[in-house]
């Protein structure tokens, strides 16, 4: 009946997960604050409340994400690449390739049957190819990110967008909107641009079956479907828990192995 916890403080959101015997009993996602320790505390408090346990009951907590060094209550900090791999493995047990798209970065990993990283790559360009890219574009279109994801299905002639720079892509979207091009075609163009960037990373690690996608962008069906077409592989989006929690889940699992 050991309780473990994982806390993933990212650039846009902070996530905390409480696990008991390999099952999630509490989780919380909050918007990141200016100080990572505050975000961590908020997320953890929410997760503890949901799990109806106290921090003292938790045997070990592992921290990850950009703010990991600042989290006060963790026993150890672990790179989010390792945590996301473990988390994805827990979410989709057959996963051998993990594509994780977070708010400000994107990573692709190949993992073994234990969820250990064999090969990984992360984006090192600007926001294009990250969750932020979709946020910005959805805002320009005046729709939610979820709606943006659904636009691909209704597109007839997706537009070509500047995909290497978020600012330029934004200018393109505005231009297309002003010239009366259907929102569905613009939306699909955005999802394609995003998928293109991610596909380069996924192919760079030589994606193998099963391909699993985690992170907030996994909820965007337009991107997932386009990416599947580009890779020529089916992509599994976790149903077991929110794909955004992968890093925190992995951290909680690693906490159990300490």
């Amino acid at each position: 009946m050991t309780l473990t916890a994982g806390c993933d403080v990212g650039s846009l959101t902070a996530k905390a997960v409480i696990m008991r015997d390999g099952r999630i009993i509490g989780a919380q996602v909050v918007k990141s604050r200016a100080k990572p320790e505050i975000s961590a505390k908020e997320a953890m408090a929410g997760a503890l409340t949901a799990a109806r346990v106290a921090l003292e009951d938790v045997a070990a907590c592992v921290g990850t994400g950009y703010g990991r060094e600042k989290i006060p209550f963790v026993k150890e900090v672990v790179s989010e690449i390792a945590c996301h791999a473990k988390g994805a493995k827990w979410l989709v047990s057959s996963a051998r390739t993990v594509i994780d798209i977070g708010g400000q970065d994107c990573k692709a990993m190949r993992i073994d049957e234990h969820g250990e990283v064999i090969k990984f790559i992360t984006n090192d360009k600007c926001a294009s190819g990250t969750g932020r890219f979709l946020d910005v574009m959805a805002r320009v279109l005046g729709i939610s990110v979820d709606e943006l994801g659904r636009l691909s299905a209704g597109a007839k002639q997706p537009v070509t967008l500047a995909s290497t720079c978020t600012v330029w892509a934004q200018a393109d979207v505005i231009k297309y909107l002003n010239s009366g091009i259907a929102v569905a075609d613009i939306g699909a163009g955005i999802n394609i641009a995003m998928a293109n960037r991610v596909a380069i990373l996924a192919n760079s690690v030589k994606a193998e079956h099963d391909v699993c996608m985690t992170g907030g962008v996994a909820k965007n069906n337009g991107v997932v479907q386009t990416l599947a077409q580009l890779l020529g592989r089916r992509i599994t989006v976790p149903r077991k828990a929110d794909p955004q929690l992968a890093g925190a889940i992995g951290a909680a699992i690693i906490a159990g192995q300490l």
């Binding site: 070509t160 500047a162 995909s163 330029w168 393109d172 231009k175 192919n203 760079s204």
Partner: protein, 466 residues
């Protein structure tokens, strides 16, 4: 890469598109209208070509021939070399090697397909190219690296120290595909005796390399035959250039592409000579009728592209020029710098001559000719040195009475982005407004055509040109 793209070779697909297009080219207007209905995706690229009548039809036949040569090379027992636009393919024809000029093959994809060569561009990055490397080779090369093209037998380039990203693409290809590699190397000067000797020494070493890897010996008579054809082509080009100085310019903007694509693919071959003959004929007709080459017939401005063109889908860039009444006064790609070309008078030491007297003089001629191909001629040294980019651009712009200049390249172009700002500043001092395009000539995903066009229009307006 999309799995469906892996079903066919890239070069084979281009051939299968161009071959039927060239066959319908001689049809009647009615037949063409009917045919367009069956080729909705290619209408945008075909129509402007076919509209040029005999010139367009000859161009398509030339392109088809090139693709056929490439796709059937191995069956015919020939070796294939990947080369670059800065390298004259004439020597390949002299040695019976089939050249694949990567940048042209990339541009064709970009002009013809909505998604251009995106998948191949990205594939190259997936296997290790930097995303910041030049797209001009990367598009077509991506296909060859993926095994989606005829097998390459050797790699030839001549850009180390002039365009590193270009040279690097070829060096990478050679290392990745494990193929023999030779690179010509140019010093920073152009016309002094020491440099010319280096040109010849290096060129001779390259011929030995080509002989070794093609199994063919360089035949003096064959070389002479090729150079005679080059001579004819140079004379026709000199005619075209002379006529192009007229106001209004009698050449349609698209002729600029026909001109250099022919030279990069078929220099020294009769296919290119036929195209040039047709072009001169058509241009003379325009001159007699005092007709501008523009569709509207009304020339408002004359633009000099101080670097390269923009190969966006369906001739977007040329259409834009044509509809805005802008005559295309050529660019760095258009000019061969033969001693009979009108613009060389202002640039002493810039040109080459042909001497077919002996093998030695022929080798010297072809080495000096090769040293005057785009980029390797005037981007090799600091831009403000004699014969280099600034002098050349100003002389040509003056000769062709350009009203303004456009710089366009790719973000991979380290050699020009390294100094285009001070270069443009100096050009401006001579009275030419310069627009620096931030787009990628071969990848619309860097800046979409919609945005590029808006910036071009904005420039014309802000600078009071139109």
């Amino acid at each position: 890469m999309r799995p469906e793209l892996k079903e066919y070779h890239y070069d084979w697909m281009l051939w299968r598109i161009l071959a039927p297009a060239s066959r319908v080219a001689d049809g009647s207007a009615k037949e063409l209208t009917h045919m367009y209905r069956y080729a909705p995706y290619f209408k945008g690229i075909l129509q402007p070509i076919l509209q040029e009548g005999a010139v367009g039809s000859t161009f398509l036949k030339m392109m088809t021939r090139y693709m056929e040569n490439l796709n059937t090379a191995h069956r015919r027992g020939k070796k294939i070399a990947i080369t670059t636009f800065c390298f004259s393919p004439a020597i390949c024809y002299a040695l019976d090697v089939v050249p694949v000029t990567l940048e042209v093959v990339t541009a064709v994809g970009g002009l013809m397909w909505k998604r251009g060569t995106f998948d191949y561009l990205d594939y190259a990055c997936e296997i290790g190219f930097t995303e910041t490397s030049c797209s001009s080779q990367r598009g077509a090369l991506g296909a060859y690296l993926a095994g989606l093209g005829e097998e390459i037998d050797m790699v030839l380039c001549d850009t180390p120290g002039i365009c590193d990203t270009n040279a690097n693409a070829f060096a990478f290809a050679a290392a990745y595909l494990k193929k023999p590699f030779y690179h010509l190397n140019y010093p920073q000067g152009l016309a002094d005796q020491r440099t010319e000797k280096y040109h010849v020494d290096d060129y001779k070493a390259m011929i030995r390399f080509m002989e070794e890897h093609s199994g063919n010996r360089l035949d003096q008579d064959r070389l002479r035959e090729i150079l005679r054809e080059v001579d004819r082509q140079d004379a026709l080009l000199a005619d075209l250039e002379e006529l192009h100085r007229l106001i209004p310019a009698p050449l349609p903007p698209i002729y600029n592409v026909f001109n250099y694509v022919g030279r990069f693919l078929f220099s020294g071959s009769p296919e290119y000579t036929r195209l040039l003959e047709q072009m001169v004929k058509k241009v003379r007709e325009n001159v007699v009728a005092r007709r501008s080459g523009l569709n509207s017939g009304k020339e408002k401005l004359r633009a000099f592209l101080c670097y390269i063109d923009h190969y966006s889908l369906n001739w977007n860039f040329w259409n834009w020029m044509d509809t805005r009444g802008i005559a295309h006064m050529g660019g760095i790609l258009s000019r061969g710098f033969r001693d009979n070309a009108c613009y060389t008078a202002e640039l002493p030491g810039s040109s080459y001559s042909l001497d077919m007297g002996s093998l030695e003089t022929m080798l010297d001629s072809i080495a000096q000719m090769n040293a005057r191909l785009p980029m390797v001629r005037s981007i090799r040294g600091p831009y403000d040195q004699p014969n280099m980019w600034l002098e050349e651009s100003l002389a040509v712009a003056k000769m062709f009475q350009a009203d303004f200049m456009i710089y366009n390249g790719t973000p991979g172009c380290r050699n020009t982005w390294g100094m285009v700002k001070p270069f443009a500043r100096e050009i401006e001092k001579h009275g030419y407004p310069v627009h620096i395009m931030y787009a990628d000539a071969f990848d619309d995903r860097v800046e979409s055509w919609a945005a590029t066009q808006e910036r071009l229009n904005e420039f014309l307006q802000v600078r009071g040109l139109l």
